[in-house]
């Protein structure tokens, strides 16, 4: 697979390969929609996520491909399966509305959606994909090394040029975690001491340090290579989910309690804001990078990019702890105090 900076000439994206991938994306999406069996449609949705990650990688977006593969195919699928297993005992409803008239059942929605697709396509065509880059994008591509000291342009946009938006994004994660914990509170955490078999436990014990190393390298090298806090934090959350599945929830709760997860999450957000306030106190503005007391370092080394390393760490802590808290809130056995 051609990597940037390693090939002889400019790599060309082959159109038939993209057409094949798009065809399969639509096919798996249709399977996920029209299949009666819920588990099969979940797996089909996960496959669609992997195919989309491949398309993103072919369209020269490695950061986005990594994020899509980890979050959409890994994390969302496991949350989907947990939610499905919690609601398994109730009877499944029929697929479509049986009391409605046949023209309302699927003909009118299909007509409306077909019209919408045609209008959308007409609107997308006017986006003029052959245009030259805007002034902001060409400035980002040319001046990132000089302005920030980091090499990952997308990471520099997220953590230096538009760092305030990243703070807003971590607030959204916090709101989601609070919402999920509030909605699913009042339950009792049933600790099961069982896990999977001995083979899986020993195999996981062999693999877990390397997965954690991989997650840490994604976070810490986020200013040099595709990656960053969001992707690495999601891999950390995936490790927490894996340990819960393989070793049983009792083992996991004894290792990292819910209290420490909440502390880590809040600590990540506080670290982010603290770094911003340091820039403010220095006179450079909130979340200032090189205008604050941070040094750019030699380009390409680990300690470069100003405060991007610390911001990546803060975001990684926040996302990892937050997403594993969401998972833990979902696997509790819910008991309502006030039955209607």
């Amino acid at each position: 697979m051609p990597q940037a900076g390693h090939d002889e000439g400019a790599p060309v994206v082959s159109t038939p390969l993209l057409a094949l991938l798009y065809g399969f994306i639509l096919l798996t999406a249709a399977v996920a929609v029209f299949l009666e069996d819920l588990l099969s449609s979940f797996i089909s949705l996960s496959v669609m996520g992997v195919l989309m990650a491949t398309v993103f990688a072919l369209l020269r977006a490695p950061d986005v491909a990594l994020t899509q593969a980890i979050i959409n195919s890994g994390l969302v699928t496991s949350l989907l399966l947990v939610a499905y297993s919690q609601t398994r005992k109730t009877p499944r409803p029929p697929e479509i509305c049986a009391e409605c008239a046949p023209w309302l059942r699927w003909r009118i929605p299909a007509l409306v959606c077909g019209l919408l697709a045609a209008l959308l396509f007409r609107g997308f065509l006017s986006l003029a994909a052959g245009r030259p880059l805007g002034t902001a994008s060409s400035h980002f591509l040319s001046a990132t090394l000089r302005d920030t000291g980091g090499m990952n342009v997308v990471g520099a946009i997220l953590l230096d040029y538009r760092a305030f938006d990243t703070l807003g994004e971590t607030t959204v994660i916090f709101a989601a975690v609070s919402g999920v914990s509030l909605l699913l509170s009042g339950g009792r955490q049933v600790h099961s001491g069982y896990g999977l078999s001995f083979i899986v436990k020993r195999g996981m014990a062999l693999l877990t340090p390397f997965i954690l190393l991989y997650a840490a390298s994604i976070i810490l090298l986020g200013h040099l290579t595709p990656g960053g806090g969001f992707q690495g934090g999601s891999v950390f959350a995936t490790v927490a989910i894996l340990m819960c599945v393989v070793y049983g929830t009792g083992f996991e709760a004894s290792r990292i309690s819910s209290k420490s997860k909440e502390t880590l999450e809040a600590g990540g957000a506080l670290l982010f804001v603290f770094i911003g306030l340091i820039g403010l106190a220095w006179g450079g503005g909130f979340l200032a990078n090189l205008a604050g007391p941070f040094f750019p370092g030699t380009p390409g080394s680990l300690f470069s990019g100003g405060n991007m390393l610390l911001l990546n760490l803060a975001v990684g802590l926040k996302v990892g702890a937050g997403l594993s808290s969401i998972f833990y809130a979902m696997i509790k056995i819910l008991e309502l105090e006030d039955e209607p």
Binding site: A4, P62, T90, L141, I326
Partner: protein
């Protein structure tokens, strides 16, 4: 090639909307939401593609792809995952109250 991407994005969005409109299972509604979000992501990334361009990692060897929609797409993926998790929490809580995941049975707020 970019025209192909736009066609796929429009079809995916329409498919997601069709799911949300016609299916009764609450999980199918969430699947439709995911499809609509994926369509938007595909649109953003295919719009940011520069012909014969490289990935936006320095040092560049030629023209680079547009990095601004990439940052927007990263944010969109993470926020999409968060709102899907919140939707699951809603479904689980409603399932405890109504003992079903049928969206036609969630009628408590009707006047």
């Amino acid at each position: 090639m970019i025209t192909m991407s736009f066609v796929t994005a429009a079809l995916l969005f329409a498919l997601g909307l069709f799911t949300v409109l016609t299916r009764r299972n609450a999980f199918k509604t969430v699947i439709g939401l995911t499809l609509m979000e994926s369509a938007v992501l595909l649109l953003l990334i295919s719009w940011a593609y520069v012909p014969d361009g490289w990935a936006p990692i320095l040092p560049l060897k030629g023209p680079g792809a547009d990095p601004l929609p990439h940052a927007l797409t990263l944010t969109a993926i993470v926020i999409g995952a968060c709102d899907i998790a919140l939707a699951f929490a809603f479904i689980m809580k409603l399932n405890r109250f109504e003992k079903t995941v049928d969206v036609d049975r969630f009628r408590r707020l009707r006047g």
